[in-house]
C-alpha cells in the first residue's frame, strides 16, 4: 500500500492547521513526522487516517482517491501517547479485540495474537490485565493490538512520550525491527530529533503546519534543505549565526571580521546564515587557542561561558556571544566557570550554509561526511 497526500490543506474556522502538504509514503516504510508541539503532527495523522477530511487536496491509497472516505472503511490502526487498553480484559483479549470485531476464526485469532505477542515480548503476560503491567508493557500491548489487525496504515502518535527514559530507549531500539516485519506504512510522530535518528526510515520535518523537508532520515539530518528543517532537526538547538560576505571577508553580527573560507569562499556577496551543530563546535580557553590553533583554517570567535552542564562523559557548554546563545557539546568533563572568556572554533568544512531566504546552499563534499 502506498499513501499519497496531494497538496493537502486543513483549515478550521479560517485558521490554517495544515498548509499544502504533499507526501508519498511507500509500502513497508517507516516515516517519522518530526516537529514541536502544535506543529501539526496530530492533524496530519488525522487526515491520513480519514478522521478528518482535508479542506483542499486529495488523499490517495494505492492510487485510489480516498478523500472523504470514512476511517471505518480504511485499513488503519492507531497508537496514542496515552496507554489505551481495555482495563477489564486480559492482555490476550486486548490484542485479540480488533480480530473479534472483524469476526475472524478462533484458530486464526490465536495464531495472530500469539505471533504479535511474541514480537513485542508480551508472551509471559498474556493472562494479566493491563493495569497489572508496567507502562512499557501497557504500551507494548497497545502496539500489538495495532499490529494484529494487519492494517495497511499504522499511525503512532508520540507512543513513547509517557514512558520512562530507559523503557523508551529499549522500545525505540526494537521498533524498527518490529515495523520491518510487517508490510504496512508506518507513520510515527515525535518531538525528539534523537528519536527520529534512531528510528531511521524517512523523516518529514514539520513547522507550523507545513512540511519543510521529506526524505531519508539521515539525509534530512545531514543535508537539511533549509534553515527551518535544520532547526527542527537539531538537539541541542542549532547554532545559527547571521553573516555578511563581502569580497574575501565575512562580517559577523558582533563585528568580527574573518577571512572567507570553505563554502563561504565560493558564494557571491550577500547575507547568509551559518548553521553549526553543537557537536561540531570546538571550545578552547583563549591561551590554548592562541598557542595551538594559529593558522589551521578554523573560524575563531570570542564568547563567554554562561552555563556548563556535565553529563559525566560529555559536557554541554552554553556560551554568550553578543546577543546570541551558542551551545557546544564537547567530549569529557569540562567545568568552565560562568563568565570565563573562551574561543569558539568552527571548522568551515562542517558548517551548514543558508542564503538570506533560508535555503541551503549545496554543501562542500566534506561536510556530508560528518
Amino acid at each position: 500500500m502506498t499513501l499519497e497526500l496531494d497538496h493537502v490543506s486543513l483549515s478550521v474556522r479560517g485558521a490554517p492547521f495544515i498548509k499544502d502538504v504533499s507526501l508519498r509514503l511507500e509500502r513497508g516504510s517507516l516515516n517519522v513526522l518530526l516537529g514541536a508541539t502544535l506543529a501539526g503532527k496530530t492533524s496530519l495523522m488525522r487526515l491520513m487516517a480519514g478522521l478528518d477530511a482535508p479542506t483542499t487536496g486529495r488523499v490517495r491509497m494505492e492510487g485510489r482517491d480516498v478523500t472523504g472516505v470514512s476511517v471505518k472503511k480504511r485499513s488503519v490502526a492507531m497508537v496514542y501517547q496515552q496507554f489505551i487498553n481495555y482495563p477489564s480484559l486480559t492482555v490476550y483479549e486486548n490484542i485479540a479485540s480488533p480480530l473479534r470485531v472483524a469476526g475472524l476464526r478462533k484458530a486464526e485469532i490465536e495464531e495472530r495474537v500469539l505471533s504479535a505477542a511474541k514480537l513485542l515480548k508480551l508472551d509471559p503476560y498474556l493472562q494479566r490485565t493491563p493495569l497489572a503491567l508496567s507502562g512499557g508493557q501497557q504500551q507494548r500491548t497497545a502496539i500489538a493490538r495495532a499490529l494484529v489487525k494487519r492494517a495497511d496504515l499504522v499511525l503512532l502518535d508520540e507512543p513513547l512520550a509517557n514512558l520512562d527514559y530507559k523503557l523508551r530507549e529499549e522500545l525505540r531500539e526494537e521498533l524498527p525491527r518490529i515495523f520491518a516485519s510487517t508490510g504496512a506504512v508506518f507513520v510515527y510522530a515525535t518531538t525528539e530529533p534523537t528519536e527520529a535518528l534512531l528510528l531511521g526510515g524517512h523523516t518529514a520535518t514539520l513547522l507550523e503546519g507545513a512540511v519543510t523537508q521529506f526524505g531519508p532520515t539521515a539525509e534530512v539530518y545531514r543535508r537539511p534543505a533549509n534553515l527551518p528543517t535544520a532547526r527542527v532537526f537539531s538537539d541541542p538547538p542549532l547554532n545559527a549565526l547571521r553573516v555578511t560576505k563581502q569580497a574575501h571577508t565575512v562580517l559577523m553580527e558582533n563585528g568580527t571580521v574573518l577571512p572567507a573560507s570553505g563554502a563561504l569562499a565560493q558564494v557571491p556577496n550577500g547575507v547568509y546564515t551559518i548553521g553549526v551543530r553543537a557537536h561540531h563546535l570546538g571550545v578552547e580557553d583563549v591561551a590554548t587557542a592562541e598557542r595551538t590553533l594559529a593558522g589551521n583554517g578554523l573560524i575563531r570567535l570570542g564568547a563567554t561561558i554562561a552555563v556548563t552542564e556535565v553529563t559525566g562523559s560529555e559536557s554541554f557548554l552554553h556560551m554568550d556571544m553578543g546577543a546570541e546563545r551558542l551551545t557546544a557539546l564537547v567530549p569529557g568533563v569540562r567545568r568552565l566557570e560562568p563568565g570565563a572568556p573562551v574561543e569558539v572554533l568552527i571548522d568551515p568544512r562542517r558548517i551548514l550554509l543558508f542564503d538570506a531566504e533560508g535555503q541551503a546552499i549545496a554543501p562542500a563534499r566534506d561536510a556530508a561526511a560528518a
Binding site: A36, T37, S134, G135, D164, Y165, K166, L167, E169, T191, E192, P193, T194, L197, L198, G200, A218, Y221, R231, D235, P236, P237, R277, A278, H279, A306, V307, E309, V310, T311, G312, S313, F316, H318, T327, L329, V333, P338, A369, A370
Partner: protein, 367 residues
C-alpha cells in the same frame, strides 16, 4: 536557607509493614547541603516520588526524622515548611494574570503591597516573564507556565529548598535546553537548595552536582555525574546511566584476566579474592569500547550500526553476549566481523551486581 537531613527515613504505605518488601522507601540517611543542586534519579516506582513527598510534607514517614537545619519538621504540614515545588504538569491559577500568580504566595503571607510589587518585578525579570506579566496565565505556553510555577516559589525570600518533580515532562526538546539553562543560572545566582526528581538521566546529570540514584526503594549510589559515569557502584547504575547503558557481560575472572565466553580480556586491577558462588560480571561502558578493523583487539560480531547523528553506535556480540560499542568516524566495515578495543582502566568487575574494588596495579599494590 537550610540544609535538609534525612535521618533513618523509611516509609511503607501499608500500616503494619513486616518485611523489607513492604517498604516503598527503605532506610535512607542523607544530607542535602544548603545551596546544593541535587537530582534524585530512578525509574518509575523506585520510591523517588515518595521521598519527595516526605520532604515536602505531603507524606509522614513510617520511621525516621527529617530535619531542616536542626529543626525537626517530620510532622509539620507543607505550608509550615519553607519549601517550594514545581510539578510535572504546570500548575497556574487560571483566572489570574502572571503578576497575580507570582504575587499570590506573598499576598497569602500578608506582605505589604509595595514589597510584593517590587519582589514580583525582580523575579519576573530573572525568569524573563516581564513582558507577559499582565497576561492571563492560562493562555501561555507550557514552558512559560512552568516558569510561573517556579516563580511562585522564588518570590518567597524564606524558601529553603525548591523541589522539582519531573518539571520538563511536557516541554518540547528545544525549550528544555533553555529552561534547564535558566534553572542552572538561577541556582548559581540565588544559592538555593534544589532537588530535582526525574527518570531522565540527561536531565539529572546535567542539572545536578550530586546525583542520588534510587532503585527498588533504596539508594544505590550517590555521586557526581563523573563518578556515576566512570565508577558505577552497581550494575543497575551502569545500565540506567548512559545511553546506551553500560555493557554488562557474564565473566569468569582469574587474577588479572576476565573470560567472557572464550574471549580473554586483560584487566587493569587484580581480583584474587572474589567471593565464591556469586554472579560475576564484567562492566564496560560503550564509550570506552571502540570498534576497529577485524584482527585488532577482541574478535566481535557486528549485528547493527545505529547512526545517532553525532556518533555511530555498533550493536555487537562478544561470544554471543550482546553489547554496544562506538564506531570511529573513519572506520568502514565490510561484513559482520570486527575487532574491539577496550580501555582497561574503565573495565569494572561486579559480584552479584555490586562493584568489586579490585587490587590496584602492582606498583602501588606494593606499598
Amino acid at each position: 536557607m537550610a540544609s535538609i537531613t534525612l535521618d533513618g527515613l523509611a516509609h511503607a504505605y501499608r500500616p503494619d509493614p513486616r518485611g523489607p518488601q513492604d517498604y516503598a522507601l527503605k532506610e535512607i540517611n542523607h544530607v542535602w547541603r544548603q545551596g546544593g543542586a541535587y537530582a534524585l534519579l530512578g525509574p518509575s516506582g523506585c520510591g523517588k516520588t515518595t521521598l519527595l513527598n516526605i520532604i515536602s510534607g505531603l507524606v509522614v514517614p513510617t520511621r525516621g526524622k527529617i530535619l531542616f537545619d536542626d529543626r525537626d519538621v517530620t510532622r509539620l504540614p507543607t505550608e509550615a515548611r519553607n519549601i517550594a515545588q514545581v510539578f510535572q504538569f504546570p500548575v497556574v491559577y487560571d483566572t489570574m494574570t502572571v503578576r497575580e500568580n507570582l504575587a499570590f504566595p506573598l499576598k497569602n503571607r500578608r506582605m505589604p503591597r509595595e514589597a510584593i510589587a517590587r519582589r514580583v518585578e525582580e523575579i519576573a525579570s530573572r525568569l524573563d516573564l516581564t513582558s507577559v506579566l499582565d497576561r492571563k496565565a492560562s493562555n501561555l505556553t507550557a514552558d512559560a507556565k512552568q516558569k510561573i510555577s517556579l516563580g511562585r516559589g522564588l518570590v518567597r525570600e524564606d524558601v529553603a529548598a525548591i523541589l522539582f518533580d519531573e518539571p520538563l515532562t511536557v516541554i518540547d526538546p528545544h525549550l528544555k535546553w533553555q529552561l534547564r539553562s535558566s534553572l542552572k543560572e538561577l541556582h548559581r545566582a540565588l544559592d538555593l537548595t534544589m532537588i530535582y526528581v526525574t527518570h531522565d538521566q540527561t536531565e539529572a546529570l546535567t542539572f545536578a552536582d550530586t546525583v542520588v540514584v534510587m532503585h527498588d526503594g533504596a539508594v544505590v549510589q550517590t555521586g557526581t555525574p563523573e563518578e556515576l559515569f566512570e565508577r558505577p557502584a552497581h550494575t543497575f547504575v551502569g545500565h540506567f546511566i548512559g545511553s546506551p547503558g553500560m555493557n554488562v557481560l557474564p565473566a569468569k575472572v582469574e587474577g588479572r584476566t576476565a573470560h567472557v565466553g572464550d574471549v580473554a580480556i586483560a584487566l587493569d586491577r587484580g581480583y584474587s579474592a572474589l567471593p565464591r558462588g556469586e554472579r560475576i560480571e564484567l562492566g564496560v561502558r560503550p564509550e570506552f569500547a571502540t570498534l576497529a578493523a577485524p584482527g585488532t583487539g577482541l574478535p566481535v560480531k557486528v549485528t547493527r550500526i545505529e547512526d545517532i547523528g553525532r556518533a555511530r553506535i555498533a550493536r555487537i556480540e562478544i561470544s554471543g553476549n550482546p553489547a554496544a560499542a562506538m564506531v570511529p568516524e573513519e572506520l568502514s566495515l565490510d561484513g559482520d566481523s570486527a575487532g574491539l578495543t577496550l580501555d582497561p582502566r574503565q573495565i569494572h568487575i561486579y559480584a552479584d551486581g555490586v562493584l568489586v574494588p579490585g587490587e590496584a596495579a602492582s606498583r602501588e599494590g606494593a606499598v
